[in-house]
Symmetry: C2
Subunit: 297 residues, 2 copies
């Protein structure tokens, strides 16, 4: 199966699982569950859950067992988008061509929908109905990895420095690196590490997958910065050039577009190198690393 | 030791543990860690963590093991206060006599500090450095209990219905009950249930503690409603009568002050009755149930 068909298939598998795992709109209170589902099903590519499944496959694990954790990761990613879009933060009215959560449901429900999705993620991974077949110690390790990467020393920390850097003209490469490795990279790393843990990875495999996740996560965000400049509005579903207009700290802004492209490529190469201890079972991780840098959306 | 001295001692023990478990202000990014600590150390009574320790003691467990989960519960309680105070929600400028988080750090950091505290709670309970001596299956059960009670079908759900009910004149008792059992009761129930699980409770003990938590949680919130009417501003650190001014759904509003006082008493009696299978080892839980209804702050 080619990568495109694989991604479509995996995405629909994740979507079906999310449909199953999320509270229903008919559950009380209706408004919060509508708001949670609105943003979860707003056209996400499911990159993080797909990476988690692929990492599990690379270490020879059963991918079916990883679905709850994979969906939990997508819930956390979605909560972060809802809160980042709030008027007090990035103040975005549209995401992927659709009105943002607070534009549809109001600011209060948007804050609470984000809170609820973050909470639901940990409920799901610890739910005996869904993860009862997994080793409890492995589940705890996954919960710890996800929480550490999503918290104030991970993703939230990246968003803080991103906001504090906006509009400043003295941002250096180290700061942009901090933002990218934390705001985007941390969850991508947590995704592959969690997949590997639940797949029963040996120590050297876990170390290799961790290096892969760090490199691929950084490559992903640099590619995003580049797309904001060279992509079309139609392709990426929001106005291009928005980073520059806001004075956002990006790779192209601190090192120029050509160097940023080289850097994304270098990170992709590093991701591939880190997988040298694996055979064909890691081919999907390799394909995804290439796709991350070459994608147009 | 009388209850007052016991509460002071337990509170200082919880405060010391929170000091240890929370990221330092010197950790990057400084702003978020300052904001997290500002609200955690803003004078909370630590009712939920103290209840967790007391429930552990009631079933004969080692209370030292429960400290991380107890602190996690206080972090979740604190996050909920920070987000509830936001301009888009209750728009409160003061809490316990101090400026609220967003008044000091701005709205964006306040949203993120809440997010980070919620995330940190799950990181802490799953951290092998702190809970490595506990049974992994028990820890997973605690994580699931906490997440279920804090999420969209628990505390967050209660806040949603509370907001949606504000200013309406047709609120009935069932709605007020829903708000109280979810917004406040759920975390109190989760606290005692978690303490009992980590203390190694037998099935019938866990059931009894669960009933205790439900009754005590409701008693606590009815007492809060009553305090908002009969307390002085100096005692409770915020303007009294604020619930009525906002058209908040409260017990006194739907059944009158005298009936509300009777109901709080009835819930306290039910909490005490549910502990009949325990001996003196549950005396602290009994004392706390009485204190919850009789307190002046």
């Amino acid at each position: 199966m080619d990568l495109k068909s694989y991604l479509v298939e995996q995405r629909s598998c994740i979507d079906a699982a999310l449909e199953l795992f999320l509270p229903n709109e008919t559950d009380l209170p209706h408004s919060i569950h509508k708001a949670m589902r609105y943003s979860v099903f707003a056209g996400g590519k499911r990159v993080r859950p797909i990476l988690m499944l692929a990492a599990c496959q690379a270490v020879g694990g059963e991918t079916g067992r990883v679905l709850p954790a994979a969906c939990a990761m997508e819930m956390i990613h979605t909560y972060s988008l809802i809160h980042d879009d709030l008027p007090a933060m990035d103040n975005d009215d549209f995401r992927r061509g659709n009105p943002t959560n607070h534009k549809v449901f109001g600011e209060a429900i948007a804050v609470l929908a984000g809170d609820a999705l973050l909470t639901e993620a940990f409920k799901l991974v610890s739910d005996p109905r869904h993860t009862g077949g997994c080793d409890p110690a492995a589940l705890l390790a996954v919960i710890h990895e996800i929480a550490a990467c999503a918290g104030s020393c991970g993703m939230v920390g990246g968003q803080v420095i991103d906001m504090e850097s906006e509009g400043r003209h003295d941002i250096d490469l180290a700061t942009v690196q901090y933002i990218h490795t934390h705001k985007t990279g941390a969850l991508i790393k947590a995704s592959v590490v969690s997949g590997a843990i639940l797949g029963g990875a040996a120590g050297h495999q876990l170390a290799a997958i961790t290096r892969y996740g760090e490199a691929a996560g950084l490559a992903f965000q640099i590619a995003d910065d580049i797309l904001d400049i060279v992509g079309t509005t139609e392709e990426i579903g929001k106005d291009t050039g928005s980073d520059e207009a806001r004075g956002k700290a990006t790779y192209p802004a601190v090192m120029g577009l050509a160097s940023a492209k080289n850097e994304a490529q270098a990170m992709m190469d590093e991701a591939l190198r880190s997988l040298e201890c694996f055979g064909a079972e890691a081919d999907r991780l390799r394909d995804i690393a290439r796709y991350i840098v070459q994608r147009r959306t």
